[in-house]
Amino acid sequence: MLHANDNWHVSGLVVLISFIIVLNVIIAQQGKVPTIRRIPGLNAIDEAIGRATEMGRPALMIPGITGLDVGTLAGLSILGHIARSIARFGNKVILLSADPIVTGVAEETVRDAYADAGRQDLYTDDDVRYLTSEQFAFAAGAAGIINREKPGAAFLFGNFFAESLIFAETGQQIGAIQIAGTPQTEQIPFFLAACDYVIIGEEYYAASAYITRNPTYLGSIVGQDISKLILITMVLIGVVVASIDQYAGAHGLHHLSINLHKYYLDLLKT
């Protein structure tokens, strides 16, 4: 088991970053709300929903295939806002879930979204479907539903693994506009190849802030950006120090070889 005293530098860094994020959330909640840059993939959400509605086809949503972890919660948060827009357009949602707990949360999220838009009449129990927790059985079920129901838009936000391309390619084949985002970096190339818009990296966690303009989320984004600046500075210092060390070693200047690079690598290891 890893503990704080295994590497106090990293633990201290985690505490510092946590403090910065919480501080910025509190500042934003008190009224100092920042603005954030455009994210094209998220601007396209309404366009995708509009097109699906015009075509008379439902919109498909998949919040990944894992249980209720941080990545899935972020995905469900985005899908909740999308469901609200879909309900406003008077269109139908099909949400496919691979986890029973996620199904319960998703049902409530979609039902609330329809209620917020004043279209409770459109919500049915079949809108949120738990298929199975088996990875490829879920992929087969989802691909079958995509082929049969032919959604006009597909929103894939959550933790995806080897099955990601099955969803994205099936959606592409039936001509759905597809917007995807995942914290699993290995799956991003597959989504880039098969989807119309992809949300990459931290944009995934910034999406809720961008869509809702909620001060808490926006404050959190500022905290993340400040923390990222700290990390980038540390990486740059590490590069300079390692370069000096390498140069000194190669030219016999051992008095310059201060081993700082080792300290920095230890710091960034975890």
Binding site: M1, H3, A4, N5, D6, V14, I17, S18, I21, V22, V25, Q29, V70, L73, L76, S77, G80, H81, D99, P100, I101, T103, G104, V105, E108, T109, D112, D125, D126, Y130, E134, Q135, F136, A137, A139, A140, G144, A162, E163, L165, I166, E169, Q172, P183, T185, I188, L192, A193, A194, G201, E202, Y205, A206, T212, N214, T216, S220, G223, Q224, L231
Partner: protein
């Protein structure tokens, strides 16, 4: 206390096993009743307290100084993980009920695609039945005579390894075709970005196969200091350079952002900083 939460073997202590299940159900319904009865303004606070305590355990366990990989709290890790597993197990029942309700309704109404639903319902009950029989009476003979000797375990293995396993492999193998069609679209040269992508992909692919390395094997290997510069242009070395010096830093850059995002989201949830939990809705 710690022993009380340890898993119990149903064969060795059936009474204790079912007593624990009954107690677990009683606690769950008790908590739900408290949440239901509690005035609306307190519900969020109750949930926030439970969320905070759950997170606090892991934070304290991580930050308390440890010797030899464990501290005072480490011994309770399995216990806390078991509690979360039990809470999650209740939700599986809800998922199964929702799944069966939907598909049985489809079969009864003979809605479009009812055959698929019938297959699901039959498969569900078959797997449940033989799964249980395999756990509690694996050797019991089901069919005997005419050279046949079929036990519960045989039927379960036929359904699991012969059915689910093969279907899963079949779906997995389909990814190869999807990769081919997605790669075709991604590598079509339409812009500077896709041209770069195509070139990089081509170099990586050639660098990974024998045919590719043959193309540049006339260049020096790099074992002679006088000619080692030219070894950089061997296709396998260019491929390695692309993977390690271009791809890996980009991936790590993305990971930095994702990790910070996860930390921020976890903090917001743990400290209930989100105004109106459950994604902006008042609980």
């Amino acid at each position: 206390m710690k022993k009380f939460f340890q898993p119990i073997n149903v064969h060795e202590h059936p009474g204790a096993f079912f007593a624990h299940i009954a107690l677990g159900l009683a606690v769950m319904f008790g908590v739900l009743a408290v949440l239901h009865v509690a005035p609306k303004q307190y519900r969020k606070s109750i949930i926030a307290v439970f969320t905070f305590l759950g997170g606090l355990y892991y934070v304290a366990e991580f930050f308390l100084p440890a010797k030899g990989g464990s501290n005072r709290l480490t011994q309770y890790n399995d216990l806390v993980a078991n509690i979360f597993t039990v809470v999650g197990a209740y939700a599986i029942g809800l998922g199964v009920i929702s799944l069966l309700q939907m598909h049985i309704r489809k079969v009864v109404r003979t809605s479009p695609g009812w055959g698929n639903s019938a297959a699901l319902v039959i498969s569900f009950f078959a797997m449940t039945t033989f799964g249980l029989l395999n756990a509690y009476a694996p050797k019991k003979v089901l069919l005997h005579g005419s050279g046949m000797h079929v036990t519960n375990s045989d039927v379960f293995n036929f359904l699991f390894a012969g059915g689910i396993g093969n279907f899963g492999s079949a779906i997995f193998s389909m990814i190869a075709f999807f990769i081919a069609s997605a790669a075709y679209r991604a590598f079509r040269i339409r812009s500077l970005e896709s041209s770069l992508l195509m070139t990089a992909a081509l170099i990586i692919m050639l660098g990974s196969v024998g045919f590719g390395t043959v193309l540049t094997n006339w260049l020096p290997l790099g074992d002679n200091p006088k000619t080692e510069f030219w070894a950089n242009f061997r296709i396998e070395n260019i491929a390695q350079w692309l993977l390690l010096q271009v791809n890996t830093p980009a991936q790590r850059g993305i990971l930095f952002g994702i990790t910070l995002g996860e930390l921020a989201m976890a903090l917001r949830l743990w400290l209930s900083l989100e105004r109106g939990s459950y994604f902006d809705k008042e609980v």
